[in-house]
């Protein structure tokens, strides 16, 4: 059953995307996990946690208003109630990647589920080799967590590259798809773990580009999205071949799903 939680604060990230701080009594989570958020009287959706798992405080969720439930959630004001149950799902292999280079590739809103992993990588920076964050989105106005990206870039011990699909002449950064950035990034292909999140088409292209760059399938991790409903492996709505995304994912190793991804019937 969902607990009754209250919105503590909200911040607009882009035209249609908001980050909510939610007081749910405090519970722990791992980078990449999600909660089911319930807009009372409207419905429930899975939303990844986008805050720092190492920092106690409210739950942080970043939500894009694309449907009835997500629109209702982004309209919630401080003090408003919503239901929360979770956390669910698998986690990014952050601790398991210690000693390796880590390449984080995010597309659009996919930066939100990856942000907890980036926080943890930075918190234990000395335990990793190169850390590369490659972020692609639609236009400069759609860049998520812009101030944070700028702050990370100023650290000098992390490579941060942002590209947009199209821009006007005021934008001085990269233009083109995020896969273009992979070949330019500095990492040891034999000792790299890649964390990828974004629209599924983007993830398929990205996994292909990482493979072309020499990263092994079993070292590439994707966050899949299917029609999750119960989140506990009971309803079968998110069945993906032999797996249930809510139970066995959402984060899965590429070698275990690469043959399933192009199958239209799944």
């Amino acid at each position: 059953m969902p607990v009754v939680a209250r919105v503590q604060g909200r911040r607009r990230e882009t035209r249609d995307t908001w980050t909510l701080a939610i007081d749910a009594g405090g519970f722990e989570f791992r980078p990449g996990q999600f909660n089911m958020l319930y807009a009372y009287g409207i419905g429930e959706i899975p939303v990844s946690l986008s805050g720092d798992p190492g920092t106690p405080g409210p739950l942080i969720h970043t939500v894009r208003a694309v449907g009835a439930v997500s629109e209702a959630i982004t309209r919630l004001k401080p003090g408003d109630a919503l239901g929360v149950r979770g956390p669910y799902g698998t986690a990014w292999p952050v601790a398991e990647s210690q000693g390796s280079d880590v390449v984080v590739v995010a597309g659009g809103l996919g930066l939100a589920p990856l942000r907890p992993a980036i926080y943890r990588l930075i918190a234990e920076r000395d335990r990793y080799g190169s850390i590369v964050v490659l972020y692609g989105t639609r236009s400069p106005a759609d860049i998520l967590f812009r101030r944070e990206l700028e702050r990370w870039r100023r650290r000098l011990d992390i490579e941060i590259e942002v590209t947009v699909d199209h821009a006007d002449s005021l934008w001085r950064g990269h233009v083109g798809v995020v896969t273009n950035l992979i070949g330019r990034a500095a990492f040891d292909r034999h000792h790299t773990v890649a964390l990828v999140c974004g629209p599924e088409i983007m993830m398929r292209f990205t996994a292909g580009a990482l493979e072309a760059a020499g990263v092994a399938h079993e070292r590439i991790f994707l966050s899949l999205e299917r029609n999750m409903k119960c989140a506990v492996g009971q309803c079968g709505r998110c069945q993906f071949g032999p797996t249930l995304v809510c139970r066995d994912g959402a984060i899965m190793r590429y070698d275990r799903v690469s043959r399933l991804l192009p199958v239209r019937e799944l």
Binding site: R138, D142, H166, T179, F205
Partner: protein, 155 residues
């Protein structure tokens, strides 16, 4: 001295990695060093595509001007990459603008010179086309992904 310098720059450019020295020498005979300041145009839409550019250092924006909307930037080309494909096929005219976003150093390869050498030496011509084709396919795939607008509404 200058030829030796150009030969070294050509050998160092990733586009020509692993190319036979005699083929690199053929390219060297068509090459010259160029430099563009920030905001300077390499070429403008409609101009003859008499050359293409190997970016040695810098960043170049490719853009198309749309009346009422201004320049629409669709690709940036970085160090180690190539600017320009229109020299390959008739009518050899640029269909977009290329503007340096920062100080950009490049090798300019004269198009007719290179096309003539490709015609005269088909082994060399095949090697050039093979390398260009790989780049063109990569850019085609990227353009397809851009057209799909995967981050757009409903994504």
């Amino acid at each position: 001295m200058q030829v030796h310098g150009l030969g070294r720059l050509i050998a160092e450019h990733p586009f020509f990695a692993g190319m036979a020295p005699e083929h690199r020498d053929l390219i060297g005979g068509c090459a010259r060093n160029v430099r563009f300041g920030p905001s300077e145009y390499l070429f403008r839409e409609g101009e003859p595509a008499n050359e293409f550019f190997l970016v040695r250092h810098g960043r170049v924006a490719l853009e198309i001007n749309a009346p009422g909307r201004g320049p629409l930037r669709f690709l940036t080309v970085n160090t180690g990459e190539i600017v320009g494909e229109a020299w390959l096929v008739a009518p050899y005219r640029w269909i977009f603008d290329a503007q340096a976003l920062e100080l950009t150093r490049a090798l300019s390869i004269e198009a007719r010179c290179l096309r003539d050498k490709c015609e005269d030496n088909h082994d060399f011509g095949y090697e050039m086309m093979r390398r260009f084709m790989a780049m063109l396919v990569q850019r085609l795939h990227a353009a397809q992904l851009q057209i799909l607008d995967v981050y757009g509404p409903g994504a």
